[in-house]
């Protein structure tokens, strides 16, 4: 890779998370789960959460699905970031924290890829615990057309 822009976007840590995703898989009988799609590109992510004995702390979190390197790497990083936090803490998790972890500037289109996992996780926690939905998604459940 000689192109600096290319080198920066697909830096080693992103490709590493993409090729070796952390927390990839399914939790059977998860305490919380949700599916998310990016309608622009067809990326799909499902997240699964198991809470610890207090019923609030995330004991295990996994994801499955398919998508581009940015969406999969960002979700993989998110799994590492959120294990051990409470549902409320994750609901309040600022997207900037995840973006800092990703560490490369993203175009608006790619930003949606990067946020897919976090949005889906927040929706899962909302469904299980009633924690706040991410910005712009209030009333999300009512939008189901089928």
């Amino acid at each position: 890779m000689s192109d600096p822009a290319l080198e920066s976007l697909y830096r080693e840590v992103i490709l590493d998370h993409y090729k070796n995703p952390r927390g990839h898989g399914v939790i059977e009988d998860a305490d919380a789960e949700a599916e998310g799609q990016n309608p622009l590109c067809g990326d799909e992510v499902s997240v699964y959460v198991a809470f610890g004995e207090d019923g609030e702390t995330i004991d295990d979190v996994k994801f499955s699905g398919r998508g581009c390197a940015i969406s999969q790497a960002a979700t993989s990083m998110l799994m590492e970031m959120t294990r051990g936090r409470t549902a409320q803490q994750v609901a309040e998790l600022d997207k900037e924290e995840l973006l800092a972890e990703i560490g490369v500037p993203l175009t608006p289109v790619r930003l949606k890829c990067a946020m897919l996992g976090l949005t889906t996780l927040k929706v899962a926690l909302h469904k299980a615990k009633g924690t706040p939905l991410p910005e712009g998604l209030a009333g999300f459940d009512d939008l189901e057309l089928t």
Partner: protein, 414 residues
């Protein structure tokens, strides 16, 4: 007009008509391979719009002053030009809409709400753009009608052997298909479906958004009842398209959008509708955009639609050959001679978003995604594809730049 008709077009010369190519992107020459998404605009169209605003702009059809007359005459001239392009029997059957999507919605609502009911069926194909799929799915469901989808083969051709069972079990009222697929590039032979539709007593609705830029679309030869096109894909401005419909059907239909201009008289107890095309053009039209579309028709006819079609076949054949050299590539769709300038592909299991972004950094613009064809993506078993598409200004070296870019993508993900 700077261009003249040639059997074979000179893309290099035509390219100079398009100011957008006078720039580099990311420090590289721009290889714009996303024309099926939207085409670039020649100077002749941009100038026509500017000139109209600078010399003739006013609202149409209701201003008695000179500018109002000029604007009305410019708008109506554009309508005549679009009618001539489509070989419409009467220019009054050409309705200006925002795009093909709006044209199809117009038919789905205005015709569908009054002619579809329980027991009726609407038939589309697996290869439809969402614009010719979702409106029908929605209106059919609202009316309690069936919504049926013909499956397609790997070339994108619908399986006509399904028709017999469809006809036996359903009262088919609408058959809606594209003429050229935006995702696979397949050019369809619509004749068998059109005659089958008419045997069923159904209307045939043709989405020609991807066809009109690339080949002669003749509404009489197709035998369709409605044909929709989008200006932005054929060198015209965005925000303008056209729906052609058979006069007797349009006259019998209820309006779609209601308001100013589309009426004959308005009383508190009763409003009557205007004549064609006004009945379907409520409110102030995109006037300058329509003038621009008329100029785009002039431009395309001067270049020659036959020459454009031949140029695209050549590029499609060249691209299929060059892309096949890239290890791990999967190419979708029919052989070159059966497709417009559209090539969809995947590169191993590298997500199209990543492919497109790395290509962008090499100056190559392609579309990555589902191309508003999610049923097709399900058929192909992928979430998305990459799509390179070509137009009259596309050069073979842009395809070379794409192939070089794909090698760079492979290196990143090696």
């Amino acid at each position: 007009m700077a261009v003249t008709a040639h059997a074979k077009l000179d893309a290099r010369a035509l390219r100079r008509d398009f100011p957008i190519f006078e720039q580099e992107v990311h420090g590289k020459p721009l290889a714009y391979l996303d024309s099926a998404n939207s085409s670039q605009k020649p100077r002749q169209v941009l100038d026509a719009v500017d000139r109209f605003y600078e010399t003739s702009y006013a609202n149409v059809h209701r201003a008695g002053h000179l500018l109002g007359e000029r604007a009305t005459s410019a708008l109506e001239h554009a309508r005549v030009r679009v009618g001539e392009l489509l070989n419409a029997p009467d220019a009054r059957e050409v309705i200006f809409v925002r795009n093909a999507t709006e044209g199809i919605n117009l038919v789905a609502y205005s015709w569908g709400l009054n002619n579809l009911g329980p027991g009726d069926a609407v038939v589309v194909t697996e290869l439809e753009h969402h614009s010719n799929f979702v409106p029908w799915q929605y209106i059919a469901r609202r009316q309690g009608a069936e919504f049926l989808m013909l499956t397609i083969d790997e070339n994108g051709d619908p399986d006509l052997s399904e028709l017999e069972a469809v006809a036996r079990d359903h009262t088919v009222k609408v058959v809606a298909t594209n003429l050229v697929s935006n995702s696979l590039g397949t050019i369809h032979d619509l004749a068998p479906l059109v005659s089958w539709a008419h045997e069923q007593g159904a209307i045939f609705v043709c989405d020609a958004a991807q066809a009109a830029p690339h080949m002669k679309v003749d509404v009489r030869a197709i035998g369709a009842d409605f044909v929709a096109i989008s200006g932005h894909k054929m060198c015209g401005p965005s925000g303008i398209g056209a729906l052609w419909g058979r006069g007797e059907l349009l006259r019998a239909m209820e309006p779609f959008l209601l308001g100013g201009h589309m009426i004959n008289s308005v009383r508190v107890d009763k409003t009557t509708w205007g004549e064609l095309p006004h009945k379907f053009e409520a409110g102030t039209s995109p006037i300058a955009e329509a003038v621009g579309l008329g100029a785009a028709v002039d431009y395309l006819e001067a270049v020659g639609l036959d020459a454009i079609e031949a140029h695209e076949h050549e590029l499609a054949a060249y691209a299929l050959g060059r892309l096949a050299e890239v290890p791990g590539i999967t190419l979708y769709g029919p052989p070159a001679e059966r497709r417009a300038g559209v090539v969809s592909f995947n590169l191993g299991d590298i997500h199209p978003h990543d492919v497109a972004q790395i290509l962008d950094l090499q100056g190559v613009a392609i579309r990555a995604g589902h191309h508003c064809c999610q049923p097709l993506m399900q058929k192909l078993g992928v979430a998305a594809t990459n799509r390179a598409s070509f137009y009259l200004y596309t050069l073979p070296e842009e395809i070379d730049q794409l192939v070089d870019g794909l090698h760079a993508v492979r290196k990143v993900f090696a």
